[in-house]
Symmetry: D2
Subunit: 448 residues, 4 copies
Amino acid sequence: MNLLDPLFGWDVTDKIFSDAVRVQRMLDFEAALARAEAKQSVVPNDVAAPIRHQCQVDLFDLSALGQEAASAGNLAIPLVKELTHLVAQDHPKAARYVHWGATSQDVIDTGLVLQLRDALAAIEGDLRRLCETLAQLADEHRATPLPARTWMQQAVPTVFGLKIAGWLDALTRHLSRLQDVRNRVLVIQFGGAAGTLASLGTDGLKVAQELARELNLGLPEVPWHSHRDRVVEVGTTLALLVGTLGKIARDISLQSQTEIAEVFEPAGEGRGGSSTMPHKRNPVACAVVLSAADRVPALACNLLSAMPQEHERGLGGWHAEWESLPELIRLSGGTLHHVVDMMAGLEVDTVRMRQNVDVTQGLLFAEAVTMALGKQIGKPAAHQLVEEICRIAIARKKPLREMLAANSEIMSNLSSAELDRLFDPLSYIGVAGKFIDRAIEASKSEQQ
Amino acid sequence: MNLLDPLFGWDVTDKIFSDAVRVQRMLDFEAALARAEAKQSVVPNDVAAPIRHQCQVDLFDLSALGQEAASAGNLAIPLVKELTHLVAQDHPKAARYVHWGATSQDVIDTGLVLQLRDALAAIEGDLRRLCETLAQLADEHRATPLPARTWMQQAVPTVFGLKIAGWLDALTRHLSRLQDVRNRVLVIQFGGAAGTLASLGTDGLKVAQELARELNLGLPEVPWHSHRDRVVEVGTTLALLVGTLGKIARDISLQSQTEIAEVFEPAGEGRGGSSTMPHKRNPVACAVVLSAADRVPALACNLLSAMPQEHERGLGGWHAEWESLPELIRLSGGTLHHVVDMMAGLEVDTVRMRQNVDVTQGLLFAEAVTMALGKQIGKPAAHQLVEEICRIAIARKKPLREMLAANSEIMSNLSSAELDRLFDPLSYIGVAGKFIDRAIEASKSEQQ
Amino acid sequence: MNLLDPLFGWDVTDKIFSDAVRVQRMLDFEAALARAEAKQSVVPNDVAAPIRHQCQVDLFDLSALGQEAASAGNLAIPLVKELTHLVAQDHPKAARYVHWGATSQDVIDTGLVLQLRDALAAIEGDLRRLCETLAQLADEHRATPLPARTWMQQAVPTVFGLKIAGWLDALTRHLSRLQDVRNRVLVIQFGGAAGTLASLGTDGLKVAQELARELNLGLPEVPWHSHRDRVVEVGTTLALLVGTLGKIARDISLQSQTEIAEVFEPAGEGRGGSSTMPHKRNPVACAVVLSAADRVPALACNLLSAMPQEHERGLGGWHAEWESLPELIRLSGGTLHHVVDMMAGLEVDTVRMRQNVDVTQGLLFAEAVTMALGKQIGKPAAHQLVEEICRIAIARKKPLREMLAANSEIMSNLSSAELDRLFDPLSYIGVAGKFIDRAIEASKSEQQ
Amino acid sequence: MNLLDPLFGWDVTDKIFSDAVRVQRMLDFEAALARAEAKQSVVPNDVAAPIRHQCQVDLFDLSALGQEAASAGNLAIPLVKELTHLVAQDHPKAARYVHWGATSQDVIDTGLVLQLRDALAAIEGDLRRLCETLAQLADEHRATPLPARTWMQQAVPTVFGLKIAGWLDALTRHLSRLQDVRNRVLVIQFGGAAGTLASLGTDGLKVAQELARELNLGLPEVPWHSHRDRVVEVGTTLALLVGTLGKIARDISLQSQTEIAEVFEPAGEGRGGSSTMPHKRNPVACAVVLSAADRVPALACNLLSAMPQEHERGLGGWHAEWESLPELIRLSGGTLHHVVDMMAGLEVDTVRMRQNVDVTQGLLFAEAVTMALGKQIGKPAAHQLVEEICRIAIARKKPLREMLAANSEIMSNLSSAELDRLFDPLSYIGVAGKFIDRAIEASKSEQQ
């Protein structure tokens, strides 16, 4: 564990990408390979068990592996060497068939795919939980008015439920993307030294099929040693997800400002406090999410720019993935988990939201008044008149409602009751409710 | 047109993202909106035609629009103003209904989606052509041996057809990704000032449905003004494609080196020449593709990092897309087209490929000899013996075949004819042929 | 001009990097080269004038150059060809000495350096103007209290002048960085085909010296065709500047929020308006600056990642710079100019700033009260007592001042007058004034 | 230690940025602060020693700190809490003055600056060693001919010493940049809660001065909590350095290709080997360096894009630096160290370089022949004649020298001895020697 893992990561995905699990997944490949080859009679039937027996990370000195990898250029070479050595102690014959026909990249890449399978499942689980929470919140706040803000300026009224529905809707699309990417990436890597499986003669394809079956992964059309679109797509897909999570955190952090105070991250002992300022409650989750929303795009960029890998195995491009992709997943998992927690305990101040609607003293309703008045005197005349009264209200710092009431042309066309209705924010939210329904419905469909 | 467009772009996608077409697509939205609203009786029936009549980019002064956009902060405000002005000249009544109920972002985003539809179709067309060319080339070169190279070092023999099959297979996946992204992105943007469509009262949803029908686009669950995952995914998907194209160009450029000389970009008058060096033939297409493979990831990064947009309309994040996404598409289209052209006329020197197999004087066949010998004397003994002979061959700079022939243990186990066969590269390509078949087959399936 | 240039660019830097000026700077190289070679008697004395005579961009068809560059792979080849053709019409002999001894990259890179010289001078000029404006503003607002905000939460009081001094101080460092980078980048590129200047025999160095003198540029130790750190450093240096400008825009945009309303971008006809919402005033400059603060880092990234260029001239990496660096400069120039304009006309609402100090009903002064009380009863006791009273004030939504006054222990230690002083924000701004002085002083020093 | 640290990192910089040292540097700040405040009589004189006594990382539970940081949002809060607790055990009075007047960011940022000081010194030391090695190598190979390659095609002859001089020259500039950045970044961070140092009343500046003196760091004009250009510049400067190191590795990796074989990374037990292919020698150092040259630009990008931090302390932007900058330094240190090692033991095959000059059968000398012939018959006639003969040589796959000798016009103008001289690569390297001298000289100057 590193010092900042608890802050930036999520223990579930952190563990999947720990050093130990990374090595274990490589050993899982070796065990499965031996078994597949034995089943297909490519190696003697009795060598699979002894090999599998040693495929346990606890038997290996990770620190020594790391040191040797620095010379060898990859982890697989010292790992296979050490595995062979371990197997040989009890079963010299079996040792001859360790890693049979495979190349370093076969074990490293397939090990990675096994990690990706677990990580994508964990992330998808969390994402589903988040969608459920948001669907409930959106429904709950379908009649909670607050100001919509565009260009960081108050615009017209909206409801908090629609804001949440927007978050939910984007996250639903990410669920769908995760499914697409899983269909493409969960395949074995198995091609031998150069992608021909020549070392297995004509048996290559049937071993590959058996190996895929053993690992419950797909069989790709061809080995993909230097074609990295599959794994990089995991990166870009999670980066898109983090972009949406960043948007949610951006909204929450803006709404949490002292002067706006509409929502708050869940409180907790020692959470977001300040040693000297008793009133401070720092939005820690938002900080973490926004930091990831800055970092993850760059990690995706570097996976993308490493794609033009040379010939049958890249020099540098492949190596660039070894830490960048795990780091990207660590930050994605951590970010998502922070948002799940934040949303589960989000504090919403609906009274303050309503008060914020009135910060402009009614200017937010100018458009509504114009539309109603237009039905009486035509839209252009209505627009001109309301605009003029707005200008007066702004100059005198008076409520728009009051200035309208003082105008005879207004009052001869709109009753006081009508004006009251027009200044009710819930009378000017259009089809927000229908949009909320649609978002909830679509999310439920996607999750089935 | 800018000076370097012919080099870096592709006229088809360049045109789709030209200033004029950008504005025309925005006008297409306005025309469709008027018609949809008339059909749904939200505006008088007779205003749609006069509005549509003025929705032609030729009637607008683009330079003036650009100048006004600098103050207004977006193109839609001056465009709607000018459109209203044009409509008013003949039909004052119709002018009152221009842009009815919509917001600037509705027209800008939907206009963008219309451009994306055309661009994705053009790119997909080119990609299909490329897949066809590569499928043919892969088939043609299924028995063309050349050295496989890993870590930029010769490894074992392979066939050129398998290299091509790898390219083809990745491109086939990109075809599938383009389909996925199209399903998500080809939807209208229509939410009014704050995403509630309040300005249309309770008619918002039915106008939206009609508008989607008019434009032959999908209807999203909710407006997505500040949720940019749809358009950003176009960027990441094309960036993945460019990564693969970069990999292809990397391979070609390495194979085109003077000392390797296996393939060449198509020749042409004035193409890749040098004013002073008559023998130079610069791989211009590779240079362009590799430059895009560096630039496009950064553009994707900046779209991703712009995703956390504020509230109901972002400040800065949205604006960051306006040039970055068109630029990303320009480079993607240009890159793809360069590769299409390059592959259509690729010169392949199969003789040189075969010669390059022999650059190591037979060391490429050490693994093959070991496998054959192993059947006689056991693999470990075989490996040890062959390794020793390799060392001698390297030290004396002699062909491995010759050194093997001089060794009595070798010759008592392998006949001269067997040795000949072992040094035939086509005898050591495993299941390359099957892999090629699989890649071609999968590509054909995808294209149906 | 492109449609969005007026919004995102600055006409001064846009012009320096226009297609026409790009070509003119290449022609300036050719003219200077001919003259330098004539002076050094490497070419006949009478050929320089006829060559220089044709080195005018108006004589060239830019569109045709662009088309030919697509085949040739760079602009220099068709440009030199066409220049030679033009010179030959009147002076066949002189035509033989056009581009004598130079390579394409010599003219392209040196042309770029000439553009960079102009652009850096323009940017530095604007930056100096901005520093002057800010120095004045900082001084003016040295006693304008407003809430300091950390983690987007109100923290303690500060003065607006200190906020500005922070901006100024960072910009002063950028002035210093621009000077450093200028010292490194303003050198000629001149190495011939491979950096040896072999085509000039033993005269290479003296021609290079003369050429540098002609162009008033430095002479590098060795040609730097594939060493791009000089030009990339221009990119990273401007990206740092844009980062600071983004920080300024971030602050302004947050302070401009409807609910905070402390500062506003300058108003102007048609500036930041909305067609339907009369109260909207969108911070257009902030939007542009923040969009650039997202885009420019990615452009810097792509220049950096293009640095590992092959051998004596890169394939792809060099080409990646041709549009990325101009684009980076365009956005940097545009961003800076927007900030210059914004600051020159910034509207500051000092009354509102003071009101915002009171949004927490006095909690901002808790630390000040604790320090004063601590002198009487010890800091720990003071801290405990004040914290307790803060909690009560928050729970009851009462002013802290009122709750303190109601506490006998407080009132027996602090007089009412002392309390009044403690709740004066200007009594709790530490050495803000000295910091402001230091920032102003340092900026003035740097500018001398 | 993480599994891949030995491969990608460098133990010296890895240690400086280890968790333990990170915390120790924060404790160094606290110790120095107490002492500075005691010296300036801001805190009692006898509290400094007891505080300093506990400022040892061994006394702290890093894992617990990490866990608490996840709630608190930063490391400083739990660290100060625990330090206070430790001090209180023996000296309750001193405990009251721990962290006096400082804010979390003061300790975190100053701690970082202390780490940066050590890291920059270590990196500069390695860089100097590299420059010395390269200066020697450049001198040694001033007469070692090999083909210059542009666009990855052989162009004309050059010498290996000039290639090295190009590397050296760029690295010399990086030495100068490191000095510039050190002058800007090595300053304390000290501003208290909001940058005013209000908690220290009017003593803030003198404490700051004393603190800077204690830590042997500079005193900035104003606190720079949300102005990150200083630390980000460390990132961009190292990214530029890594770009150059990537260029060196690109060259070496291309020259190491089996078909070119001019240079090799130093051999070593277990270094770059392959389990199945005895002839393989993978360029591991190049792989690592090239992977960093892909990753570091993205890390620089994300530091740059995190710069627009909010108000007096950022939300997310600051947090994004906490791992990105250490990671960037880890990769930079590792990369540099790999290159230092590689160059110290670089194997150079000068015979093969000379052979590679002849790969084109003399076409590399066409320009030289043209220049010589031109003195006799005029350059245009010479160019036309040589070009024609080149075409014949290429078509017939014959040596150019032989084809020239068969041409009577050539032979009546050039003697056989002259032709011999023209085909000597060292007769066509222009002022390469002078360039090498200049690069060596400049590097020595910089290092003094």
